[in-house]
């Protein structure tokens, strides 16, 4: 099953309440995905600071801080439950190998505007744990997972991020992910789990090297087998795609202030002015995108 949600703000009006809006959406999708939850939240960022979203797993914060201090010049370490946002002006090409070689932790995403938090447990507990209500931003994507094809772990939770400021959430299952993973690995992609969605995220990151997001998803229609409703995020916005059979649901509500998407309408019922929104289902095989 799984539940997916997303909000893109067209105006500044709701930027401060973005976290609160998303958290209610995630909680109402608990029945579709009680195993784990996660969210990616984007903020405008004009400076050169990169943010690395890290899940500490079993590693203690003190141990991490001590050891990483010797290897990386960072400007800030923001602790939020078992996640850390490490801020640094150094290039990802230098930082990522260091973080990847750090035993026990998971690098869940990085970029200038993205922050990702994901954890096992009920969505209501996860959003509370990370205090999502107090986040602000320009757009956000979230996921509640009912695990089907790989283990219930942080690494098996969505959103998946496989490139700078990129992320993907998925409701469905892919049929050709093993083949695709092999192909992408040959091209230099790296994967941390056996999860099918991570492969789709890797596919999108790989394809984005030569195309924009819309073109990438369009190409995905022929390269990705199986069932899916995707929300793919970048620093500028997000895009939505359903496979051509379209058995995985999605509904979009659009007002002059925001665009919201979720698996079921009930996740959006609390959003401001939603009863006057333009409400529609994304049509199968068509890429919808919003961005600035």
């Amino acid at each position: 099953m799984c539940g997916i949600v997303g909000i893109y703000l067209k105006s500044k009006k709701f930027e401060k309440s973005l976290g609160r809006m998303l958290s209610k959406m995630l909680i109402s999708m608990e029945s579709r995905g009680p195993d784990s939850a996660g969210f990616a939240i984007y903020n405008k960022n004009k400076n050169k600071i990169y943010k690395y979203s890290i899940c500490l797993n079993e590693v203690s914060f003190e141990k991490f801080r001590k050891e990483i201090k010797k290897k990386i010049i960072f400007t800030k370490l923001d602790k939020n439950s078992d996640h850390i946002i490490l801020k640094s002006t150094e290039k990802p090409s230098k930082i990522i190998p260091i973080l990847e070689s750090f035993k026990g932790i998971s690098l869940v995403g990085y970029g200038k505007s993205i922050e990702i938090f994901k954890q096992v447990g009920k969505p209501s507990n996860v959003v509370k744990k990370f205090d999502l209500d107090n986040f602000s931003g320009t757009h956000a994507i979230g996921h509640t997972r009912m695990a089907t094809e790989s283990a219930i772990t942080t690494d098996g939770s969505h959103p998946y991020s496989t490139g700078e400021d990129e992320c993907l959430v998925h409701n469905g299952s892919l049929s050709n992910h093993n083949n695709l993973r092999r192909k992408l690995k040959k091209n230099g992609s790296k994967f941390n789990s056996d999860n099918d969605t991570e492969v789709a995220a890797g596919y999108i990151s790989d394809s984005l090297k030569d195309r924009n997001l819309k073109q990438t998803l369009k190409k995905g229609l022929s390269d990705l087998g199986g069932f899916y409703t995707f929300i793919a995020g970048t620093h500028s916005g997000f895009a939505v795609l359903r496979d051509e059979i379209a058995c995985k649901p999605a509904v979009i509500a659009e007002t002059k202030d925001y665009v919201a998407i979720s698996s079921e309408f009930q996740a959006m019922a609390h959003l401001p002015n939603v009863n006057n929104a333009k409400i529609f289902e994304p049509e199968p095989g068509i890429v919808y995108s919003w961005g600035r």
């Binding site: 379209a246 649901p249 009930q266 199968p284």
Partner: protein
């Protein structure tokens, strides 16, 4: 009587509507603040009027018998699924599988219905004033599907004996579905159905589709394929 889903639990609202006290003769109900909840007004059996004020979730008015249900909003997957009798009127759009397996009654959708509208329908009359998505009337067995807009891919795939009337374009027909002649009795029936939905479009503007009946029996020429 107003049943507010912000104050009452869904289960108690449905229980109330499912167990009408015949002596009291209260037959008008309004359900407010549905907020996308699932299975609202499922399993009603009495001849009552219910208006739902807002958007609802899945399986709204499922298994309906006798009740007259109006949804003043959009509906999720499977509205009026397996309806036996009565009437369900959706003023907004419907998600997939509207009227699935319904045996009788009337389902009217003022907006569009998405994929698989009328899948495996068994006698219901469905009138969609907008368009329907792909695989509509898939394996439909009996009843009428009227589409005032366009129809998506594979309309009427593996169709049995349902009559499909489409005014607009049909993207493609499914296996064993073909255009049929519109006879006088079809025009009369279609006129009656359109009238039920409050539409005065002329039946002559529609085309009729039905089963070519080539899948009813196994064709021995295909034996080598198995």
């Amino acid at each position: 009587m107003i049943l507010d889903l912000k104050k009452l639990k869904l289960r108690s609202v449905n229980e109330k509507l499912q167990n009408i006290d015949r002596k009291k003769n209260k037959r008008d109900f309004v359900v407010s603040n549905p907020e996308g909840n699932h299975a609202i007004c499922a399993g009603l059996t009495e001849n009552i009027d219910v208006t739902i004020k807002g958007h609802v979730g899945y399986y709204c008015a499922g298994m309906n018998q006798n009740a007259n249900i109006i949804v003043d909003g959009n509906v999720g997957t499977g509205v009026a699924e397996n309806m036996m009798s009565g009437k369900v009127h959706v003023k907004g759009n419907a998600s997939q599988s509207a009227g699935a397996t319904a045996h009788g009654g009337t389902l009217i959708i003022d907006g569009d219905a998405s994929s698989r509208c009328g899948i495996s329908m068994k006698g219901v009359d469905i009138i969609v004033k907008g368009s329907v998505g792909h695989m509509s009337a898939f394996m439909a067995q009996s009843g009428n599907l009227v589409v005032c807009g366009d129809a998506g891919e594979a309309l009427g795939d593996s169709l049995y004996e349902t009559n499909i009337y489409v005014k607009g374009k049909v993207k493609s027909l499914g296996a064993d579905c073909e255009e049929k002649k519109m006879n006088k009795q079809h025009k009369t029936k279609l006129k009656e159905l359109l009238k039920k939905a409050g539409s005065n479009i002329k039946p002559e503007q529609f085309k009729r589709y039905g089963s070519a009946r080539k899948l009813y029996n196994f064709n021995i020429d295909n034996v080598s394929n198995y």
